[in-house]
Amino acid sequence: MMNKSAFIYDSYNARVLTYKQLSDTFITNKSFLELAGQNNTVLIGPRGSGKTTLLKMLQIEALSLWEGEKAEEYRSKIKYTGVFVPTDMVWYKQQKKLLETNNNNAQVARYINDLFTLHTFECLLQALIFRTSGARDYRRILLSYEKERELAKVLATQWKLSPDVYTLKSLFASLILKNQEMLSLVTNDIFSDPVRINDNICSFTDISQSLSASIRQINNMISENDGCWCFLFDELELAPTQITSDLIDAMRGSNPNIIYKLSLSPYNENISNSITIRDAMESQDFSIIYLPDSQDIDFAERLCEMVLEKKGLSLGVIEKFENIDYKKEITELAAKDNSFNRYLERKHISIENIENYTDRNKKPEIRKIRWSVLIRNYYFNNNLSLRSIRRPADFYAGFLNICTALEYNPRMLIGTMNKLVQQYKRGKIDFYSQINALQDASNGFNAILNTISVGSDDFYTVQDLIQKISTQIRQKYILGEVFHDEPKGVFFFKKEPDINIARALGDALNTGAIINVTDNKSSEFNISKFVGKKFRVSFIFSPTFKLPLTKLSPIEYDKLIDSKIDSISELDHEKDNNQMELEL
């Protein structure tokens, strides 16, 4: 085999980065400030929203290497030792299959929980060894040989291990061996023999109790009775269900020596809904951070600047879409779209006076219809037939539109900026390149959604679901026969959807293809029920499906996707709006 040529630009996934790379490229944001606090936190967001980066930066190893502007401030503020505990999709799918093959047998589930608990011990021990090794001075522990021996001995007893010698490194080796031994038994048909399985289960108690006991011993031996350890569980939805539930419950505990920071995707049908935001607010046990933060434009700018700066560029080179002649767009649309004309008449909007309207007089209404006007005028011919253009319009370009379309998702922003820097020519990155980059992002996303199978008769994959919803919005409310000043597109449920649709929506939420836009996210932090919440399709699909980059009005999901309802009259539309307001 031969090595192929190197590639031009970098992708970004925090899990791949070394501590050094991570800390060198890290940019703080409002969420990090909140996350770094000395309290339990749940971090919720779809993939790529920055959860892993933020959690990994709280690890002792990463913090010790960080040389950024605010590094010292954070180092002195953070009083705990961060222990990062990863999991991943491949392991998740494997353990899920193992459970299914064994009919969800309780002993098999315990065995898998034990494996995950051992994994957590391994992560804890890594952080402890880092602190005792004296590799860097930050939070260094001086541990005598006797104390280390004693500590290794008590941990070995608690963790049911028998190391050759009682040192932390030997304990680590013993942990690895134990883990490997248990893994090999999994494939050695252990589960067909209840006696054999019982002999090999470690039977750790609840993971939080196991960690509490370990931390008590560690603090005692390192003479840090107030020592605080922060467990940073990443992608916790991929951990065994029991572990996830135990950790969530543990967040209401009051052990001052342990903090939990858990990252979760928005949807997980298996997580208990017992903890609500109200609980959190009332008890002040934990805070909840939703990612990505679309309000943090400053962060998006600094992140993109960082990518551009590497090539000697700045945000200014991204061509701006600002000089649109809106009066011309409105005039052109009015000339071909009678329904739009009727709307203008109904609202007493005069095209001649467009530029003279103020915020108190019509301007908000004119602003509100901007996207509908642009899209209809661009895609409709004079006879109101659709132009056969596949390429999205240029008005989706511009830095802010790119950020909006990418939902301020840091990984996508970095990926797209990396592509754009290659397109820099003649002093700018033009609209053509920007639209291409957005289409690439959308196509890549679609490829992923196309692999997420849905057990529904209506949709094969999550991509089908997104396509159906987006197409219905376009056909009914954006490029339908009738102009809608308040096109619908945000959807809600009056009754819980069928389980297959719920899972498809859940997968879409977790990948970021669907966004939770509930005004006040005051129900449970984990979406396992859909009634009472509002959703929309990600803006990343807007250029492809010819949809606005702005939040639309609400409609019931069943009505939205019912293709029999293919066109809505202007009167119905108004009635509909009034009804929705009452219902919501």
Partner: protein, 305 residues
């Protein structure tokens, strides 16, 4: 298990020949080469698409040449194999010929795993693959209906969670199929296995076009090229790669592209069992059936049990 090159001029006789009966015209191309040298002949037929393309002609060819045809349910392959092959295989001490040309990855994997488990030592399997003439890739992306272990009964927990997961994925020429699989799993590291066949440049061109986004999105990933016509070399190269990786990684193999890579992946998974997982990505019957004709070129690999 020992892997060897296999020379077609060996003119061997086989205890049993196992073939695939499908609608593609190449379904009978290997059969026509070896039918007179197989003591027993068995064709594993599909229970769908039996009215497509050359299915009826192929079936007639098998049946008229004393080849037993059994219909195998894609959802119960193992059961059908146990029922029809277990006893025969356990008694064979000699060579078994297996033509994988028109077998799905799922089917050929279940069959090979079954043979590995049941064949007695000192017997061997000759795997044959009839390379098809180039056909253009589908213009649409078929929805994926299954993404998981290539063998129903074998999906171990491979390695400690603290080992970094790595996906070694064979690329095919279907648009963004590999990208979807990788994106879905979101692994820390990826290695691409790119098929090459100097006699077939069209395939390579389409592969590059249809994986452009993948290469763009995973620019730092290593790409390794393997020669489709040299399965023996590919086996050793892939095995040495796996040996290098497995100390620090949990390895998942996803052999998209030419089916011979699925065979090689499976052999390696067997050898390293239970450390390596092999997965498939399938649109099952949502794909449009394409009648692939044999190019007249064959590749073989021999497995000594």
């Amino acid at each position: 298990m020992i892997i060897e090159k296999y020379n077609t001029t060996d003119d061997d006789n086989f205890e049993i020949g196992i073939f695939g009966l499908g609608y593609e015209s190449r379904s009978i191309s290997c059969f026509s080469q070896v039918k007179d040298r197989c003591r027993m002949k068995l064709a594993l037929a599909y229970n769908y698409w039996c009215d497509k393309a050359d299915y009826k002609i192929n079936k007639e060819e098998f049946e008229s040449n004393d080849c037993r045809v059994i219909e195998v349910d894609e959802n119960a392959i193992r059961k059908d194999l146990e029922l029809n092959l277990a006893q025969i295989i356990q008694e064979i001490k000699g060579k078994v010929f297996v033509d994988i040309s028109v077998m799905t990855r799922h089917r050929l994997s279940e069959l090979l795993w079954f043979l590995f488990e049941n064949m007695i030592s000192e017997s061997s399997i000759i795997i044959a693959y009839s390379i098809a003439d180039f056909v253009e890739p589908p213009t649409q992306n078929y929805p994926v209906k299954f993404f998981g272990s290539i063998i129903d009964s074998f999906q171990p927990l491979t390695g400690r969670l603290n080992l970094h997961p790595i996906v070694v994925i064979g690329l095919g020429y279907e648009k963004d199929k590999a990208l979807g699989a990788i994106g879905h799993l979101d692994p820390e590291n990826v290695i691409f296995l790119i098929p090459s066949n100097e006699k077939e440049q069209n395939y390579k061109e389409r592969l590059d076009e249809n994986n452009k986004l993948l290469f763009d999105n995973y620019p730092k990933s290593k790409s390794l090229t393997y020669d489709v016509l040299k399965p023996y070399s590919t086996y050793f190269e892939l095995k040495s790669l796996i040996l290098r990786l497995k100390k620090e990684h949990r390895i998942l193999l996803i052999p998209l592209g030419p089916k011979i890579l699925a065979v090689i992946s499976l052999i390696i998974a067997w050898e390293f069992s239970p450390e390596i997982n092999v997965w498939r990505v399938s649109s099952e019957q949502l794909e449009k059936p394409l009648n692939r004709k044999s190019s007249g070129e064959y590749i073989y690999i021999k497995i000594n049990i």
